[in-house]
């Protein structure tokens, strides 16, 4: 078992290191100029050298992503609960949710930039992108309750409030967490895309702006450094939401079940 686990850690690490090494080797052997493809070592050096600028941008992107994700989580879950408790509300707002969901939010970004300040517009785009998977998944979860359990609650004359608290919400938890995992990734994508659309400079410049700016200045190593930071942010969000899901479900849900074969 532990040997298996060691192999599972060592193999992907090794593959990653080998890939970086090959990249470095190809760049050095072929003498590829940094403007076309910088070597990993140069990207690392740039990351250190430009850390001040890049870190400020990272902070901007991170705060937008997490603010959007938190707002989407709270908003999506609350709206799903409202819909579940009061069905007419769901019918009433159904067309709006569908229209907003099927319209690529990026297409709304320019409009939002007209109405709102660039910072707010970016936040709203990231929020909208992350909001719908959370709302849709939580709604699905709240209505996917074992019918026999619903009968049981009815037989013991449970109030609809208790039915929600003790039956629908726990049953919806795996769905909600699935929505959160999707929403987490989408919040970052939304933030980056909206930043590129907004092209805001100065104090509020996030990582996506640094990429656009580096492109104009042909500062390709810095472009890669910004990309690395975005990737790390994405991986961190993935790890965070995945482990949150694992810890909340490990006692009972099949998704967190370890199978001894």
């Amino acid at each position: 078992m532990s040997r298996d686990r060691a192999v599972r850690t060592i193999l992907p690490t090794l593959a990653f290191v080998v890939a970086l090494f090959l990249w470095e080797a190809i760049v050095r052997i072929n003498d590829i100029p940094p403007v076309i493809l910088p070597a990993p070592s140069l990207i690392a050096k740039t990351l250190v050298k430009d850390w001040g600028t890049l870190f400020r941008s990272l902070e901007v992107t991170l705060s937008i992503t997490f603010e959007a994700l938190i707002a989407a989580t709270v908003g999506g879950a609350l709206l799903a609960l409202l819909f579940a408790q009061w069905r007419p509300l769901e019918y009433t707002f159904f067309p709006f949710t569908v229209i907003l969901q099927v319209t690529p939010v990026v297409a709304i970004a320019p409009l939002l930039l007209v109405y709102l300040s660039p910072g707010t517009a970016v936040l709203v785009v990231a929020f909208l992108v992350a909001f719908f998977p959370i709302l849709a998944n939580t709604s699905l979860g709240l209505s996917s309750v074992d019918h026999n359990l619903l009968d049981l609650f009815q037989m013991y004359r449970a109030s609809s409030w208790r039915q929600l608290l003790w039956l629908r919400i726990p049953a919806a938890l795996p769905y909600f967490l699935g929505g959160l995992r999707i929403g987490g990734g989408l919040a970052l994508i939304g933030a980056i895309v909206a930043e590129i659309a907004a092209g805001s400079a100065g104090q509020g410049a996030g990582l996506a702006f640094r990429i656009v700016e580096s492109g104009y200045r042909l500062n390709i190593p810095r472009m890669f450094a910004a990309l690395v930071l975005i990737s790390i942010t994405g991986v961190a969000i993935f790890l965070l939401t995945t482990s949150l899901s694992y810890f909340m479900l490990r006692r009972w849900h099949d998704s967190a079940r370890s199978r001894d074969l």
Partner: protein, 280 residues
């Protein structure tokens, strides 16, 4: 009313006969009178069902699928209302326990919390409920499993938890909807034995839905045979074998004879003339 059964023996009497059962006539708990049930898709699940449920008896509803056995349980549980006729409750309090075909446990809650649920919905705190929950778990042989989660249990154990949950309120009427149908033969036999023992221990009335002749003869005091399309009662078999019942009863002559009798009743129910108009 002519007996729908071909043969009537002293050991098993049809509904038309003078009761020859050694069991003393029991006080009525509920009576279904001319109950009919049609669903919105125009399927007629039950037609003019008259059924008496006597206090303290173990009553089996036996029949092929689609004969409305489960609908009768849902009517008794108040989960649905009859389209025609009515249910007359002859006792002031009728607390219910319901055991479904699947264990129907909340997977996110451990065994204790699952069994606690009916009491919790009745407003009892964990502390107040603890002795009752532990007693119910002891009755089904699951003492010490309080903290286990449903997924850690076998199919038979999950069903035991489900039975404990139904018993925890000490219901006057226990409704069981093919509870052991999904279990393997060995587990099913063991649970049947335990249910027979439990029945002796408890004062509850049990209405048990099954499509197994052997199960119904082993468990019941009285078997009501039903026919499908539309669901209706076609025969009744009394099972006067004494309790407690055990392996000796299962291997004995009387059991074999009753199984034969019940099979015959079920067989004639299957070939019985369907209602004037075919539905479904």
């Amino acid at each position: 009313m002519p007996s729908p059964m071909h043969a009537t023996r002293a050991i098993a009497s049809g509904p038309g006969d003078v009761p020859t059962s050694p069991i003393a006539p029991r006080e009525l708990l509920a009576r279904l009178e001319k109950v009919g049930k049609s669903f919105s898709n125009r399927v007629e699940a039950l037609r003019s069902v008259d059924l008496e449920i006597r206090r303290g008896e173990f009553l089996s509803l036996l029949g092929p699928s689609g004969c409305g056995k489960s609908t009768i349980l849902r009517l008794l549980a108040g989960l649905t209302n009859p389209s025609l006729g009515y249910i007359n409750w002859l006792s002031t309090s009728h607390d219910l326990g319901f055991v479904f075909q699947e264990p129907t446990l909340m997977p996110w809650a451990n065994v204790f919390d699952n069994v606690w649920l009916p009491l919790r919905l009745g407003g009892q705190s964990r502390k107040t409920a603890r002795p009752k929950v532990e007693e119910a778990l002891a009755k089904v042989g699951l003492s010490g499993f309080d903290c286990a989660y449903p997924r850690e249990l076998s199919g038979g154990m999950k069903m035991r938890v489900s039975i404990a949950r139904a018993l925890v309120t000490r219901p006057a009427l226990l409704l069981m909807d093919e509870p052991f149908a999904a279990l393997d033969e060995i587990t099913r036999t063991k649970l049947n034995d335990d249910l027979v023992a439990l029945k002796c221990e408890l004062d509850a009335t049990v209405v048990f839905v099954t499509h197994s002749v052997f199960e119904s003869v082993y468990l019941s005091d009285r078997i009501v045979v039903m026919a499908p399309r539309p669901g209706r009662v076609v025969a009744e078999v009394n099972v006067p074998a004494p309790r407690p019942r055990n392996e000796d009863y299962r291997l004995g002559h009387a059991y074999a004879e009753l199984c034969r009798e019940t099979s015959r009743a079920l067989h004639s129910a299957m070939s019985a003339e369907p209602g004037q108009k075919r539905v479904g």
